[in-house]
Symmetry: C2
Subunit: 327 residues, 2 copies
């Protein structure tokens, strides 16, 4: 069987994660990294691996089965994904939940017209968490959904703190409140406010001579980011930051709490505990790249999400093997 | 949209669970209960619901979209499912893992020849647990699988104890060993023997004058069922049994423990905590009955398992709704 030849579009945390994930999947290979930077300036992890300008992507049409587009959801993906779906099978991790329907429509039109398969919003949320919300709702139609995130680094909140006057560096952890998670696990079906679900823990390196009280107040009261949460601010040294807070862990829980028959309660819980958010997301992207190639080979074109992909398409194993070993 | 008309074949715990689950799914309706007993002897939960002899099933070909076959895996399903797949779309919960390939082949041949869709081995293990093993393996190809069952009632082990001399009634709980689960959750990837994964807790009502020491010894040393486990035996009164041990709870965990990049660990955990094992299993069966009808309507015939079904087929919601609300 021929390998799935994957083009990596963009070389940030996710691009590097995809490159790493491909090495763990014997039926996949990297067809090249495509960057907006000067290709000569990039040092990649794969010995002998090729780096090209993203402007030359069209020249590699014959060498690539699936492009994994590793750009940001704010400005990159809404433009790149529909554009590239005209020429390639694609997978992206578009995660602006509110704009998914629009993104889907754009990619669907491009992919159908050109005869390609696109799978969008792949990762863990949206992605694996979404799948578990769907399975949970379909199995237990009478019930409640809960999603908790963390303990993990929120890049958006960390960036917001870094913009506060007097802040040199910052890391924000989103932390699910244990008593809330326990109440959900116990089938109590609590109504939870934003404040009751998550804490925000901030580790901050202040610039020399900065007003710490003012920094703390600016963070804690920041609208949208922190004002609706209980937020703790801990000042640390740059040395401690580099030593203890350089990782990008994340995770969380999706819980469906339902009831059947005569008051019988059921709890379905899906939990992720990830040392590296981007590396895990990349693993999911590569599994769905395998699916994208198979769907395209079957002539099943257009835009898909994780909801539309039969699980067997993600695995390198045959149906016989899966039934014998994993069912 | 027309409702999914479901025939319930067999009326034990699962049959009653399916009947209960159908009431929670507005797009489904019960087309009738089909029993091997005298239909007049059956009192069902649905007011005005029909009970027929299973011998008359063929007469209801036009009234049924999907038959959910609620028999046992030992002798009923290997015979019933291929037979009924010649005439109906079917879903079953065949759970003899080792014989799934054979059962699949038999149902596939019958369903393909007659133009029907069959989904076998639906429930939670096999079923939702299998799905999570597949997703976990596809996403984290470098890693280890762990499945723990319980705390929950094992009917097979309870029955085995009831066959011991001097035993009047018994209930056996399978209990995952917490320290083992914790070690797995911590990413320690332990090698675990059978004894290190689960305990077996037995509650026994002895007949008057029975030799309790002998009963305990007979249970603890019983080959295949108990000898490879640490087993506790607690003698209780029939009154206490009826009061505290009449439920059929179950559940468990599927954990994939994997690694990426430079030693980054990831834990994917899927957990079920079920007050009623048969009612939950039945909920899964009904969701897959919805899928079976849709696949049949599309002309996608033959035998399938949960691995082959795109998640969206399980939900009554449209693709647009799912993308807007659950993705």
């Amino acid at each position: 069987m021929s390998k799935v030849r994957i083009g990596i579009i963009g070389y940030g945390n996710i691009g590097r994660g995809v490159e790493t994930a491909i090495k763990q999947n014997a039926d996949c290979e990297m067809a090249g990294v495509f960057t907006r930077r000067d290709p000569a300036s990039l040092s990649i992890l794969t010995e002998g691996g090729s780096v090209y300008s993203v402007d030359d992507l069209a020249d590699h049409k014959e060498d690539i089965d699936v492009c994994i587009i590793c750009g940001g959801s704010a400005t990159d993906l809404p433009k790149q994904t529909p554009e590239m779906a005209k020429m390639f099978n694609i997978v992206d991790s578009f995660d602006t939940h509110a704009k998914i329907p629009e993104h889907f429509a754009n990619v669907d039109a491009a992919a159908k017209e050109s005869g390609h398969t696109g799978i969008i919003s792949v990762g863990w949320d949206p992605g694996m968490f979404s799948l578990n919300r769907l399975y949970g709702n379909a199995i237990l139609p009478v019930g409640k959904d809960y999603t908790f995130w963390g303990r993990g680094v929120s890049q958006g909140h960390s960036d917001a703190i870094r913009r506060v006057e007097g802040v040199q560096d910052a890391r924000q952890y989103t932390v699910p409140i244990e008593s809330a998670v326990d109440a959900v696990r116990n089938g109590e079906n609590p109504e939870l406010t934003t404040r009751e679900k998550h804490l925000r823990e901030c580790y901050v390196v202040a610039k020399e001579g900065a007003n710490l009280k003012q920094i703390e107040s600016d963070i804690v009261n920041m609208p949208n980011y922190f004002d609706e949460y209980d937020t703790s601010v801990t000042f640390i040294s740059q040395e401690e930051m580099d030593k203890n807070h350089s990782g990008i862990p994340h995770g969380g829980f999706v819980i469906r709490s339902g009831e059947t028959g005569n008051g019988n309660k059921h709890i379905i819980e899906y939990r992720l505990k990830l040392d590296s958010n981007p590396e895990f997301t990349s693993c999911v992207l590569v599994a769905y790249a395998r699916a994208a190639k198979r769907l395209a080979d079957e002539g099943n074109f257009g835009c898909k999400t994780v909801f539309d992909i039969a699980p067997a398409y993600l695995s390198p194993q045959s149906g016989d093997e899966l039934r014998a070993h994993l069912l």
